[in-house]
Amino acid sequence: MRILIVGCGRVGGLLAGRLVENGNDVSIVDANSRSFRRLPEKFPGRVVLGTGIDEDVLRTAGIEQANVFVAVTQDDNTNIMSAQIARNVFGIDRVILRIYDQARAAVYRQLGLTVICPTTTVAGMIEEEVLRSTTAALRSS
Protein backbone atom coordinates (compact mmCIF):
# COMPACT_ATOMS: atom_id res chain seq x y z
CA MET A 1 0.00 0.00 0.00
CA ARG A 2 1.13 3.53 -0.73
CA ILE A 3 0.40 5.72 2.27
CA LEU A 4 0.87 9.48 2.61
CA ILE A 5 1.04 10.92 6.13
CA VAL A 6 0.78 14.65 6.84
CA GLY A 7 2.25 15.61 10.21
CA CYS A 8 5.32 14.01 11.73
CA GLY A 9 4.53 14.47 15.42
CA ARG A 10 4.55 11.62 17.90
CA VAL A 11 1.61 9.89 16.24
CA GLY A 12 2.74 10.55 12.64
CA GLY A 13 6.31 9.45 13.32
CA LEU A 14 5.30 6.29 15.17
CA LEU A 15 2.72 5.41 12.52
CA ALA A 16 5.20 5.93 9.68
CA GLY A 17 7.72 3.60 11.35
CA ARG A 18 5.14 0.88 11.95
CA LEU A 19 3.66 1.02 8.46
CA VAL A 20 7.11 0.81 6.88
CA GLU A 21 7.92 -2.22 9.04
CA ASN A 22 4.81 -3.90 7.68
CA GLY A 23 6.11 -3.45 4.16
CA ASN A 24 4.16 -0.37 3.09
CA ASP A 25 5.43 2.43 0.91
CA VAL A 26 5.21 5.54 3.11
CA SER A 27 5.68 9.28 2.41
CA ILE A 28 5.58 11.81 5.22
CA VAL A 29 5.11 15.59 5.10
CA ASP A 30 5.81 18.13 7.85
CA ALA A 31 6.27 21.89 7.85
CA ASN A 32 9.10 21.71 10.37
CA SER A 33 12.29 19.80 9.55
CA ARG A 34 12.97 19.11 13.22
CA SER A 35 9.86 16.95 13.36
CA PHE A 36 11.51 14.30 11.21
CA ARG A 37 13.77 13.36 14.13
CA ARG A 38 10.82 11.30 15.32
CA LEU A 39 11.17 8.93 12.37
CA PRO A 40 13.10 5.70 12.92
CA GLU A 41 16.74 5.70 11.85
CA LYS A 42 17.29 4.88 8.17
CA PHE A 43 13.62 5.54 7.40
CA PRO A 44 13.20 4.23 3.85
CA GLY A 45 10.15 6.32 2.94
CA ARG A 46 9.93 9.70 1.27
CA VAL A 47 10.30 12.72 3.55
CA VAL A 48 8.96 16.08 2.29
CA LEU A 49 9.33 19.43 4.02
CA GLY A 50 6.29 21.70 3.50
CA THR A 51 2.72 22.35 4.51
CA GLY A 52 0.11 19.65 4.03
CA ILE A 53 -2.46 22.11 2.72
CA ASP A 54 -0.45 22.95 -0.42
CA GLU A 55 -1.33 20.87 -3.47
CA ASP A 56 2.19 21.19 -4.87
CA VAL A 57 3.76 19.90 -1.67
CA LEU A 58 1.35 16.97 -1.67
CA ARG A 59 2.19 16.25 -5.30
CA THR A 60 5.90 16.20 -4.47
CA ALA A 61 5.08 13.73 -1.72
CA GLY A 62 3.44 11.46 -4.31
CA ILE A 63 -0.21 11.97 -3.48
CA GLU A 64 -1.19 11.04 -7.03
CA GLN A 65 -0.01 7.48 -6.38
CA ALA A 66 -1.26 7.18 -2.79
CA ASN A 67 -4.01 4.70 -1.80
CA VAL A 68 -4.39 5.96 1.75
CA PHE A 69 -4.08 9.49 3.15
CA VAL A 70 -3.55 10.27 6.83
CA ALA A 71 -3.62 13.79 8.37
CA VAL A 72 -2.28 13.96 11.93
CA THR A 73 -0.77 17.43 12.46
CA GLN A 74 -1.36 19.22 15.77
CA ASP A 75 -3.87 21.56 14.13
CA ASP A 76 -7.43 20.36 13.55
CA ASN A 77 -8.11 22.80 10.74
CA THR A 78 -4.93 21.90 8.87
CA ASN A 79 -5.93 18.23 9.07
CA ILE A 80 -9.44 19.02 7.86
CA MET A 81 -8.24 21.09 4.90
CA SER A 82 -5.55 18.67 3.78
CA ALA A 83 -7.92 15.71 4.11
CA GLN A 84 -10.45 17.45 1.87
CA ILE A 85 -7.76 18.25 -0.70
CA ALA A 86 -6.83 14.55 -0.70
CA ARG A 87 -10.41 13.47 -1.22
CA ASN A 88 -11.87 16.21 -3.42
CA VAL A 89 -8.87 17.19 -5.56
CA PHE A 90 -6.93 13.94 -5.76
CA GLY A 91 -9.85 11.53 -5.35
CA ILE A 92 -8.38 9.34 -2.60
CA ASP A 93 -11.12 7.13 -1.10
CA ARG A 94 -9.36 6.19 2.08
CA VAL A 95 -8.78 9.43 4.00
CA ILE A 96 -8.19 9.28 7.75
CA LEU A 97 -7.71 12.34 9.94
CA ARG A 98 -7.39 13.31 13.56
CA ILE A 99 -9.66 16.04 15.00
CA TYR A 100 -9.33 16.89 18.69
CA ASP A 101 -12.50 18.99 18.87
CA GLN A 102 -15.47 16.64 19.13
CA ALA A 103 -17.96 19.06 17.54
CA ARG A 104 -15.80 19.42 14.44
CA ALA A 105 -15.18 15.66 14.46
CA ALA A 106 -18.94 15.04 14.26
CA VAL A 107 -19.45 17.49 11.39
CA TYR A 108 -16.69 16.06 9.20
CA ARG A 109 -17.62 12.48 9.99
CA GLN A 110 -21.03 13.35 8.59
CA LEU A 111 -19.34 14.67 5.46
CA GLY A 112 -17.90 11.20 4.90
CA LEU A 113 -14.36 11.49 6.23
CA THR A 114 -12.89 8.86 8.58
CA VAL A 115 -12.32 10.91 11.72
CA ILE A 116 -10.42 9.80 14.80
CA CYS A 117 -11.25 12.00 17.79
CA PRO A 118 -8.72 11.33 20.57
CA THR A 119 -10.65 13.55 22.99
CA THR A 120 -13.75 11.34 23.06
CA THR A 121 -11.75 8.12 22.78
CA VAL A 122 -9.43 8.92 25.68
CA ALA A 123 -12.20 10.40 27.83
CA GLY A 124 -14.20 7.22 27.27
CA MET A 125 -11.28 4.99 28.26
CA ILE A 126 -10.58 7.00 31.41
CA GLU A 127 -14.25 7.03 32.32
CA GLU A 128 -14.32 3.25 32.03
CA GLU A 129 -11.34 2.95 34.37
CA VAL A 130 -12.91 5.35 36.85
CA LEU A 131 -16.17 3.43 36.81
CA ARG A 132 -14.29 0.17 37.26
CA SER A 133 -12.48 1.51 40.35
CA THR A 134 -15.70 2.84 41.89
CA THR A 135 -17.40 -0.53 41.36
CA ALA A 136 -14.38 -2.27 42.88
CA ALA A 137 -14.46 0.12 45.84
CA LEU A 138 -18.17 -0.48 46.32
CA ARG A 139 -17.65 -4.20 46.21
CA SER A 140 -14.87 -4.19 48.80
CA SER A 141 -16.75 -1.92 51.17
Binding site: I53, D54, E55, D75, D76, N77, T78, I80, M81, Q84, I85, N88, V89, D101, A103, R104, V107, Q110, L111
Partner: protein, 218 residues
Amino acid sequence: MYIILVGGGKVGYYLTKTLINEGYEVFLIEKNPLKCHTYSERFGSVIMQGDGAEAATLAAAGAARADVVIAVTGEDEDNLVICQMAKEKFHVGRTIARVNNPKNEELFRRLGIDVTVSQTNVILSLIEQQIPDLPFVHLMSLRHADLAIVEARVAEHSPILDQPIERIQFPPEVIVTAILRKGGLIIPTGQTVIRAGDELICVTKREREEALQDLLGI
Protein backbone atom coordinates in the same frame (compact mmCIF):
# COMPACT_ATOMS: atom_id res chain seq x y z
CA MET B 1 -29.27 41.51 8.07
CA TYR B 2 -27.09 39.82 10.68
CA ILE B 3 -23.41 39.34 9.78
CA ILE B 4 -20.85 37.41 11.81
CA LEU B 5 -17.21 38.21 11.14
CA VAL B 6 -14.39 35.96 12.30
CA GLY B 7 -10.86 37.31 12.62
CA GLY B 8 -10.01 40.73 13.99
CA GLY B 9 -6.89 41.60 12.06
CA LYS B 10 -6.78 44.77 9.97
CA VAL B 11 -9.28 43.42 7.45
CA GLY B 12 -11.69 42.28 10.15
CA TYR B 13 -11.35 45.52 12.06
CA TYR B 14 -12.12 47.82 9.14
CA LEU B 15 -14.86 45.55 7.83
CA THR B 16 -16.57 45.63 11.22
CA LYS B 17 -16.26 49.38 11.39
CA THR B 18 -17.59 49.92 7.87
CA LEU B 19 -20.46 47.45 8.15
CA ILE B 20 -21.59 48.94 11.46
CA ASN B 21 -21.55 52.40 9.89
CA GLU B 22 -23.64 51.11 7.03
CA GLY B 23 -26.25 50.02 9.54
CA TYR B 24 -25.79 46.25 9.53
CA GLU B 25 -26.03 44.17 12.65
CA VAL B 26 -22.47 42.91 13.02
CA PHE B 27 -20.73 40.59 15.47
CA LEU B 28 -16.98 40.02 15.50
CA ILE B 29 -15.23 36.92 16.87
CA GLU B 30 -11.51 37.29 17.63
CA LYS B 31 -9.10 34.92 19.37
CA ASN B 32 -6.80 37.46 20.99
CA PRO B 33 -8.25 38.78 24.29
CA LEU B 34 -6.17 41.98 24.16
CA LYS B 35 -7.58 42.91 20.76
CA CYS B 36 -11.09 42.12 21.93
CA HIS B 37 -10.64 44.48 24.84
CA THR B 38 -9.44 47.37 22.64
CA TYR B 39 -12.15 46.80 20.04
CA SER B 40 -14.97 46.57 22.55
CA GLU B 41 -13.95 49.97 23.86
CA ARG B 42 -14.37 51.31 20.33
CA PHE B 43 -17.38 49.38 19.06
CA GLY B 44 -19.23 48.42 22.22
CA SER B 45 -20.47 44.93 22.91
CA VAL B 46 -20.36 43.46 19.42
CA ILE B 47 -17.13 41.56 20.01
CA MET B 48 -16.52 38.19 21.53
CA GLN B 49 -13.30 36.44 22.38
CA GLY B 50 -13.18 32.92 21.02
CA ASP B 51 -12.25 30.45 18.29
CA GLY B 52 -14.66 30.88 15.39
CA ALA B 53 -14.10 27.31 14.22
CA GLU B 54 -15.58 26.03 17.46
CA ALA B 55 -19.26 25.18 17.40
CA ALA B 56 -19.83 26.56 20.90
CA THR B 57 -18.38 29.94 19.93
CA LEU B 58 -20.47 30.16 16.77
CA ALA B 59 -23.57 29.15 18.70
CA ALA B 60 -22.93 31.81 21.35
CA ALA B 61 -22.51 34.40 18.60
CA GLY B 62 -25.93 33.47 17.27
CA ALA B 63 -24.82 31.69 14.10
CA ALA B 64 -28.18 29.97 13.86
CA ARG B 65 -29.84 33.26 12.91
CA ALA B 66 -26.91 34.73 10.94
CA ASP B 67 -27.50 35.60 7.29
CA VAL B 68 -23.81 35.78 6.43
CA VAL B 69 -20.61 34.47 8.00
CA ILE B 70 -17.37 36.09 6.83
CA ALA B 71 -14.03 34.46 7.76
CA VAL B 72 -11.09 36.81 7.39
CA THR B 73 -8.34 35.34 9.56
CA GLY B 74 -4.80 35.12 8.24
CA GLU B 75 -4.95 31.33 7.92
CA ASP B 76 -6.71 29.70 4.98
CA GLU B 77 -7.33 26.44 6.83
CA ASP B 78 -9.12 28.34 9.61
CA ASN B 79 -11.24 30.35 7.17
CA LEU B 80 -12.27 27.15 5.38
CA VAL B 81 -13.33 25.35 8.55
CA ILE B 82 -15.14 28.40 9.98
CA CYS B 83 -17.25 28.65 6.82
CA GLN B 84 -17.89 24.92 6.61
CA MET B 85 -18.94 24.74 10.27
CA ALA B 86 -21.27 27.72 9.72
CA LYS B 87 -22.83 25.95 6.74
CA GLU B 88 -23.00 22.37 7.96
CA LYS B 89 -23.89 22.93 11.60
CA PHE B 90 -25.77 26.22 11.57
CA HIS B 91 -27.11 26.25 8.00
CA VAL B 92 -25.90 29.78 7.35
CA GLY B 93 -27.09 30.81 3.88
CA ARG B 94 -24.02 32.65 2.70
CA THR B 95 -20.38 32.11 3.65
CA ILE B 96 -17.52 34.31 2.53
CA ALA B 97 -13.86 33.38 3.01
CA ARG B 98 -10.74 35.43 2.63
CA VAL B 99 -8.14 33.39 0.74
CA ASN B 100 -4.53 34.19 1.51
CA ASN B 101 -3.01 31.80 -1.00
CA PRO B 102 -4.66 32.58 -4.38
CA LYS B 103 -4.32 28.92 -5.35
CA ASN B 104 -6.99 28.08 -2.77
CA GLU B 105 -9.82 30.07 -4.41
CA GLU B 106 -10.84 27.24 -6.67
CA LEU B 107 -10.53 24.64 -3.90
CA PHE B 108 -12.68 26.63 -1.47
CA ARG B 109 -15.46 26.98 -4.01
CA ARG B 110 -15.31 23.29 -4.71
CA LEU B 111 -15.69 22.67 -0.98
CA GLY B 112 -18.89 24.72 -0.81
CA ILE B 113 -17.77 28.21 0.21
CA ASP B 114 -20.11 30.68 -1.52
CA VAL B 115 -17.70 33.57 -2.07
CA THR B 116 -13.92 33.76 -1.90
CA VAL B 117 -11.86 36.92 -1.82
CA SER B 118 -8.19 36.66 -2.65
CA GLN B 119 -6.32 39.78 -1.59
CA THR B 120 -3.45 39.00 -3.89
CA ASN B 121 -5.72 38.80 -6.92
CA VAL B 122 -7.66 41.91 -5.95
CA ILE B 123 -4.49 43.95 -5.48
CA LEU B 124 -3.06 42.60 -8.73
CA SER B 125 -6.12 43.68 -10.67
CA LEU B 126 -6.13 47.12 -9.01
CA ILE B 127 -2.50 47.61 -9.96
CA GLU B 128 -3.27 46.57 -13.54
CA GLN B 129 -5.98 49.22 -13.70
CA GLN B 130 -3.52 51.88 -12.60
CA ILE B 131 -0.92 51.08 -15.22
CA PRO B 132 -1.91 53.61 -17.93
CA ASP B 133 -0.75 51.83 -21.05
CA LEU B 134 -2.39 48.47 -20.60
CA PRO B 135 -4.96 48.14 -23.40
CA PHE B 136 -6.81 45.23 -21.80
CA VAL B 137 -7.56 45.07 -18.07
CA HIS B 138 -9.67 42.71 -15.96
CA LEU B 139 -11.87 44.76 -13.72
CA MET B 140 -13.60 41.83 -12.14
CA SER B 141 -13.98 38.09 -12.47
CA LEU B 142 -17.29 36.41 -11.88
CA ARG B 143 -15.94 32.92 -11.79
CA HIS B 144 -19.11 31.05 -10.95
CA ALA B 145 -20.42 31.86 -14.37
CA ASP B 146 -16.96 32.06 -15.90
CA LEU B 147 -17.60 35.70 -16.76
CA ALA B 148 -15.35 38.73 -16.57
CA ILE B 149 -15.82 42.47 -16.70
CA VAL B 150 -12.99 43.98 -18.73
CA GLU B 151 -11.84 47.37 -19.87
CA ALA B 152 -10.41 47.35 -23.39
CA ARG B 153 -9.03 50.22 -25.46
CA VAL B 154 -9.84 50.36 -29.17
CA ALA B 155 -6.59 50.54 -31.17
CA GLU B 156 -5.88 52.85 -34.16
CA HIS B 157 -5.87 49.89 -36.53
CA SER B 158 -8.94 48.13 -35.16
CA PRO B 159 -11.26 46.82 -37.92
CA ILE B 160 -14.34 48.29 -36.19
CA LEU B 161 -13.30 51.96 -36.18
CA ASP B 162 -15.96 54.55 -37.07
CA GLN B 163 -18.74 52.00 -37.25
CA PRO B 164 -21.97 52.03 -35.28
CA ILE B 165 -22.28 49.18 -32.77
CA GLU B 166 -25.32 47.66 -34.52
CA ARG B 167 -23.18 46.90 -37.57
CA ILE B 168 -20.28 45.38 -35.63
CA GLN B 169 -20.09 41.61 -35.27
CA PHE B 170 -18.97 41.24 -31.67
CA PRO B 171 -18.02 37.73 -30.60
CA PRO B 172 -20.95 35.82 -29.04
CA GLU B 173 -21.32 36.26 -25.27
CA VAL B 174 -19.70 39.71 -25.31
CA ILE B 175 -21.69 42.80 -24.31
CA VAL B 176 -20.44 46.39 -24.43
CA THR B 177 -21.97 47.98 -21.33
CA ALA B 178 -20.26 51.38 -21.32
CA ILE B 179 -17.79 53.48 -23.28
CA LEU B 180 -15.33 55.93 -21.75
CA ARG B 181 -14.34 58.63 -24.25
CA LYS B 182 -12.08 61.54 -23.26
CA GLY B 183 -13.10 61.24 -19.63
CA GLY B 184 -16.84 61.13 -20.41
CA LEU B 185 -19.19 58.19 -19.99
CA ILE B 186 -21.33 56.98 -22.90
CA ILE B 187 -24.02 54.34 -22.42
CA PRO B 188 -23.97 52.83 -25.88
CA THR B 189 -26.93 52.22 -28.19
CA GLY B 190 -26.89 50.54 -31.56
CA GLN B 191 -26.15 53.90 -33.18
CA THR B 192 -23.08 54.71 -31.05
CA VAL B 193 -20.01 54.95 -33.28
CA ILE B 194 -16.74 53.47 -32.04
CA ARG B 195 -13.67 55.74 -32.18
CA ALA B 196 -9.99 54.96 -31.78
CA GLY B 197 -8.94 55.32 -28.14
CA ASP B 198 -12.42 54.51 -26.76
CA GLU B 199 -12.31 52.47 -23.57
CA LEU B 200 -14.97 49.78 -23.77
CA ILE B 201 -16.28 48.25 -20.57
CA CYS B 202 -17.47 44.79 -21.57
CA VAL B 203 -19.01 41.80 -19.90
CA THR B 204 -17.52 38.76 -21.56
CA LYS B 205 -17.18 35.01 -21.24
CA ARG B 206 -13.60 34.19 -20.40
CA GLU B 207 -13.12 32.14 -23.56
CA ARG B 208 -14.24 35.07 -25.76
CA GLU B 209 -11.59 37.48 -24.50
CA GLU B 210 -9.13 36.66 -27.23
CA ALA B 211 -11.67 37.16 -30.01
CA LEU B 212 -12.62 40.51 -28.45
CA GLN B 213 -8.98 41.61 -28.33
CA ASP B 214 -8.57 40.74 -32.02
CA LEU B 215 -11.63 42.76 -32.91
CA LEU B 216 -10.35 45.83 -31.06
CA GLY B 217 -6.88 45.52 -32.59
CA ILE B 218 -5.18 44.76 -29.25
